[in-house]
């Protein structure tokens, strides 16, 4: 867990970038006001906002995050084409069911990322997360037992996410 | 011409979700329809902002994208049994 200073700096940087995106101008008065306000906000909220501090901005982690985002986006496009094909097919070739998989992520944030990624990718939707167990609605069930399903649904994401989260 | 095709497609999407909202058998169906309609509406607002060329219109979509899911969360909490 990072020190107080690194937490404070990380919160201030995130708030300042958010301010710049929201105002989307480089007028000097706006930038100075944004700097003052983001330092004030960070002074009050840095304990709750982050747990690792500046370690989140390590270059390796940032590169991993961007790569993960592109991979995830490609998966999302495939998922959409799949669902769209099922929608416009006159017979609606769906084969739905709820399967049970196990995740190996430990932290809460990791579980959140895995669940969100599962929701947005091929034909799966997270219904419930109970500790290590996840219940997933699958639009085209290919395997019903726990091991095979765990390998097929969250396996790929977990491999990528473990690189930069744990 | 571009405008007419694009906005007609999105408008037809809105009509379909409202029909599902009007005839869905359970309250959950209606909530799903409203949730999707919120997203479709956000896209429509951004597109109309480009149509009218006014930068301030983007702020409305921003407020919409950030706040409209609170309604969905409240309905979901009610269906679960707590608030």
């Amino acid at each position: 867990m990072g020190s107080r200073l690194s937490k404070f700096l990380y919160t201030a940087i995130v708030m300042f970038v958010l301010w710049l995106l929201l105002t989307s101008t480089f007028n000097s008065q706006e930038v100075i006001a944004g700097a003052i306000i983001s330092v004030l906000v960070a002074a009050f909220t840095h304990e709750r906002f982050t747990r690792k501090g500046l370690a989140n901005l390590h270059p390796k982690r940032v590169v991993c995050m961007v790569l993960y985002f592109f991979y995830f986006f490609w998966q999302m496009v495939k998922a959409n084409i799949d669902v769209a094909w099922r929608v416009i097919h006159p017979k609606m070739p769906i084969n739905p069911g709820i399967v049970h998989v196990k995740t190996t992520m430990k932290s809460d944030f990791g579980k959140l990322m895995v669940a969100n990624s599962i929701t947005l990718t091929p034909g799966t939707l997270t219904l419930e997360v109970l500790g290590d167990d996840m219940l997933i609605h699958w639009i085209d069930v290919k395997a019903t037992d726990v091991e095979t399903a765990s390998k097929m649904i969250p396996g790929v994401f977990e491999k990528c996410l473990k690189e930069f989260l744990e | 011409m571009n405008w007419i095709i694009v906005i007609t497609l999105i408008g037809l999407g809105t009509v379909l979700t409202i029909l599902r909202m009007a005839m869905g058998p359970t309250p959950a169906d209606r909530a799903v329809a409203v949730d999707s309609m919120t997203t479709i509406t956000t896209a429509l607002l951004v597109l109309l902002g480009l149509f009218m060329k006014r930068y301030i219109y983007l702020d409305i979509s921003l407020v919409y994208a950030a706040l409209a899911f609170i309604a969905t969360l409240a309905i979901a909490r009610y269906l679960e049994g707590g608030v």
Binding site: L21, S24, M76, V77, N80, V83, A84, V87, I88, M92, I94, N95, P96, G97, I98, H100, A115, L120, L125, T126, L127, E128, L135, H137, T144 | N2, I5, V6, L9, I10, G13, T17, T26, D29, A31, V32, A33, D35, S36, T39, I40, T42, A43, V46, L50, L58, S61, L62, A65, A66, F69, L73, I75, A76, R77, Y78, L79, E80, G81, G82
Partner: protein, 114 residues
């Protein structure tokens, strides 16, 4: 050049938004509707909004922010709706293959009322 790419993205987004709405209209039960509604409308809205930003480049930062908000909030609300509809007792479609949720106590337990 950028404007042409932007228009293509807007067209793709509009088609996906329409297909998502059609999926909500056609699919047989809540969970399948949720699948179509979440995935197609998320990608459709993302593509449309970023396309608007590419057609008019000074707007790009704010459109990216809106798209990021949509990408963040949409899976959360769909997850909440799916769990709530299972707990409130909505049945699966009769053609469904398997329902592992039956084995778990927590899937059925409602929260205590005051």
């Amino acid at each position: 050049m950028l404007a042409i790419i932007g228009w293509i993205m807007i067209y793709i987004g509009a088609i996906f938004l329409f297909l998502g709405a059609l999926g909500i209209f056609r699919f047989p039960d809540v969970y399948n509707r949720l699948q179509a509604g979440t995935k197609c409308t998320t990608l459709g809205a993302f593509s449309t909004i970023v396309g608007v930003g590419l057609v008019n480049p000074p707007w790009l930062p704010k459109t990216l922010l809106i798209a990021f908000f949509i990408l963040l909030t949409n899976p959360i609300s769909s997850h909440a709706l799916g769990r709530a509809s299972y707990k409130s007792g909505v049945k699966l479609w009769e053609g469904s293959v398997v329902d592992k949720c039956k084995d778990f106590e927590e899937c059925h337990k409602k929260e205590e009322e005051e």
